[in-house]
Symmetry: none
Subunit: 197 residues, 4 copies
Amino acid sequence: MTVRRGGAPRSEAARIAILEATARQVVERGFAHMTVEGIAADAHVGKQTIYRWWSDKSELVAECMVEGYLLPDLLTVSSTADLRDDLRRALTAQFAFADDPAHASLLRSLIAAATDNAAIADRVRQALSADGLLRRRLDQGVADGDLPPGSPTKTIAEAIAGAFVLRVLLRTPPGNVSDEVERLLDAILGTGIAPAE
Amino acid sequence: MTVRRGGAPRSEAARIAILEATARQVVERGFAHMTVEGIAADAHVGKQTIYRWWSDKSELVAECMVEGYLLPDLLTVSSTADLRDDLRRALTAQFAFADDPAHASLLRSLIAAATDNAAIADRVRQALSADGLLRRRLDQGVADGDLPPGSPTKTIAEAIAGAFVLRVLLRTPPGNVSDEVERLLDAILGTGIAPAE
Amino acid sequence: MTVRRGGAPRSEAARIAILEATARQVVERGFAHMTVEGIAADAHVGKQTIYRWWSDKSELVAECMVEGYLLPDLLTVSSTADLRDDLRRALTAQFAFADDPAHASLLRSLIAAATDNAAIADRVRQALSADGLLRRRLDQGVADGDLPPGSPTKTIAEAIAGAFVLRVLLRTPPGNVSDEVERLLDAILGTGIAPAE
Amino acid sequence: MTVRRGGAPRSEAARIAILEATARQVVERGFAHMTVEGIAADAHVGKQTIYRWWSDKSELVAECMVEGYLLPDLLTVSSTADLRDDLRRALTAQFAFADDPAHASLLRSLIAAATDNAAIADRVRQALSADGLLRRRLDQGVADGDLPPGSPTKTIAEAIAGAFVLRVLLRTPPGNVSDEVERLLDAILGTGIAPAE
DNA sequence: CAATAACCGAGACGGTACGTCTGGTCTTCAG
DNA sequence: CTGAAGACCAGACGTACCGTCTCGGTTATTG
């Protein structure tokens, strides 16, 4: 292991102030328009203290997300007997979140950041799929016989997340959320009517 | 109507040089790191000639895409009697395109640009869904009885596009493309086995 | 010759504003403590406009001096029949100037600048020797027989300037100026009494 | 008096390493461009160890000079019966020293330092006038009748030092040293010919 | 001989300024 | 009036140092 060779240890207070300021700046200005200088000023910190520990602003945002300063898990997947209803609840909440223009704007910022930084991308996916909760509920659906055996639950979960991402990217105007959710459920789970033979 | 009051007409040569330079810069540097100054130099054009006709770099990229300098339609959807095979062909080609790291990087740049500019976002969706071709093939599938009547074909097409976008965003390592495509088809079309009652 | 190929010509207004601001900053802060950023702000000018035309702050100060924004000629050498009296008047005025602490401080700043930049050094010498006026009066003194024929008038003028520079450098407290001037004249012109054989 | 209440005594090794490093840095970078951090690194010493004992870099340089790490006494004034010859020897050595560009550069650095710090200025004057040796030889010249009674020997010594300082400042190109020395002696001592009546 | 105190090397900290790069605007001249 | 060229003001970039503070560790003196 690395031996401490003198010097003050890293300041946790500074680290937290910087991450909080970063989160504020992402929300206020967006990823593209926020500046390291602005973060330093907001956090009452020297710029060098930022550059000492992070190489660029996408690293900052990545750590912000990992530490949960930016994006809560958007999905909370309930687990009743009714798979479709559980998913409906979860997706409705997620879509409603994105219908707030400020939230949509934040999400677009994070998508932009994700194009720069794989860690952010992964964290976005985690947030969007409730870090596996969604997939686990789908697996349960397979076990319960609500989904065909062998259903690719991981892929289904990613298709749901992807549909959501694209909706945010396309700025789909907040329409009738429940209709949209229903259509997405139809697309993923089938219309509930067995396909024609 | 606005009366033209003399002077030289807009130079088509300059316009084309600028769009070509923009396309080059997106590929070489990525959307976030390219500069208007760099484009002007690359196109041997004054900065003002750019600012006179476009308000910012996302407008430039948007026009580039519309004019086809940047992204070809990624899907070419065939129309045989077998829906699943038609989709398989289309998606396989699309996934293969994204497996080239340079292409994936370009796509991420365009996603970043799309977060800034709705026109780009829409154009990305168009490219990803072959400007409606995919949806039309799905509609045909409904008509042929390959999909249940009332299937939300638009939503299905967007889920497919979304799954692809998320794959690009997450930098999913190029694995077994045919398996992944198969899983995505399973997710969207069902496993081919009627869900248990 | 170089052909102008377009682009706005250099702004004379900006150039003057920068030189004036530089002069103000030298006086207010001193050469060592003034900043390019401060000058830019004072002159309401972008930093690049400074760096485009000057390589560093000693170049700025040099141009300031050449243009006369900073240091007037300190000597005005009269030309009566009495060499010693002419020099007395000139040196007394110069010493009195340096007795103002602000002036002394400015002179030290310029000496510091001169250690960086030969052009400044030469301009300081010019200012100190009235750009040759002093030497010409000494030559006249030789012609009049007030100085021995063959007297090294250039060296004498430099010794006078050097004595003054050293006085400024040493911060010799403002004492009895007329005594000091008299002693310097004695040193340079002799005590007026022929040396003992 | 202040009572020592325990603790390690000041490290002489560190003090010497710092002064040596300071001297190296003055020579290598010049006073204006050397840094405390560079000195600390060069001396393998913590910055605080410097700031604990010196307030700024001009203090460091001042102590360097007092301790003789930087500038030897440039004059060694011999004391034969011939005043002019004694001075000629001394000045020739001094001028020859300054003809080495590295020495001239060091002297300019010290002049720059002297503009910041009166102690350095005084030490420079001391070095240049051999700490009074020159003046004492001039006094001897008065006693011997080589100079008029009442000659202002202090002022003469300072004029000699000043002429030398100005020569260094002006970067007078190394020309014929013996001629220059001769002219300076003429300027100070007279041409050796009694002035015309 | 433990406790205390001042020292030491190392290096993180909040800052200021550097010199460069780019954004968007404005100004010239050529066509 | 367009377009190439490029100067302009503004301000962020990432780096270098400033002078202070905080570590772990090392001598001395003192109770």
